[in-house]
Amino acid sequence: MENKILVVEDLFEYQRLIQVSLGLKYKIDLAETVQDAKSKLKNNNYLLIILDVHLPDGSGFDLCREIQFETRHQETPIIFLTAKNTTSDKVLGISIGVDDYIVKPFDPAELVARVDLRIMKSMKKKQIENSFKSGPLRFEINGLRLYVENTNEEKKVDVTPIEFKILLKLAQNTNCVFSRQQILDSVWGYNIYIDDRSIDRHISSIRKKIEPYQKIIKTVSGIGYEFKV
């Protein structure tokens, strides 16, 4: 994803102030109306969305609700930046589930700090969701990358996508015994004929690659394999 923020704001002076404040760190995409914002959201991914509430063709509150329903932007943090400063407005904004509510006029330094914080938190959350750790192994799920603990640091281990999937399946179900057929079904899917002994060859390859932790994959005689930390 690009380093891009969507700013939905109709007042020129605030557009400029936001651009000057955040422009050095982020690429700013400006939208002046709800319609404009919707078309930009259709074609782009954003790190964060800054939303004015009072827009010429609709309400920022409604737009926010729509954004939250879309899968594409569900996880994107949203900040309301508005001159609506009554408690009831703030309560309404926060109850929609917005990440922050900033009242105009704002301090540019404060805006930068809040935007940075929201983006950092959202990235951290994505990183945590993408990462899975079991015993000495850490999986980066999106990148199919595997790391093995090596004294005080981590060592990246090159595994094939199939090996990654087998190992992840086992590691996510510690102490559960899986038959070869179960592993085949979950990794390759149903209706595909593969000799279940090919699993043994993959397990043998994985064990070599994760040395000295090869023993965490236990062979359960007559059944299959088990991940034991």
């Binding site: 605030y14 102030l17 001159a83 105009k104 540019p108 930068v112």
Partner: protein, 209 residues
Amino acid sequence: MAKVFFLYDKNSLFLKDQMRESDQNMYYYFDNVEELFLCLFENHCDLLVIYNLQLKDQKNISKELMCIFELIPSLSIGDCTLSIYQLINEELEKQLFLEKKNISTRLLLIEKSTSADTAKELISIFCNQFFTNIQQLQQHLLNLDRANLKFLAHNLKSSSANIGALRLPIYFSLLEGINGFESDFYIKLLISIALGEYRKVIEIVNIIL
């Protein structure tokens, strides 16, 4: 030169006679509220001085119009007349000082967080757009288009607060909050007061820059 509106009654006529020629302010004298309001449409009032006596048409002042008294910077002088001009000038200075201080603080903050150029740019945007917006506001009032009037008032509240104006956002907040029960007279008066305040803000901004 400040414009001071003086509301008096027959018991305080002597104040009018005491007006000093050396005083630099411009004084407008009214002995009834209706006349005062009509004049407010045409002239900006920097300070309303109310001599605390019974007004002959006080019973006709609606609650709505009483709000205007709260809006315009005012000074109630009671029976004290000795240092009246000094009081007026002190009050005017206080008003100016507060407005100036707030605008300077806001511009300094923007300068500090961004740059001096940004602060200047924002002021020039404000100065260039504001007058046109006020005219548009008056047009919406003429067309009885309250929805657009409220929308524009919200934007003007936002714009004026952005450069640190103190009183302007209050007037626009009131305009933004109109709900259909207020008279056109009240709205027209609010717009007139705001227009005068806007001119004052422009003067302050020019001094600061």
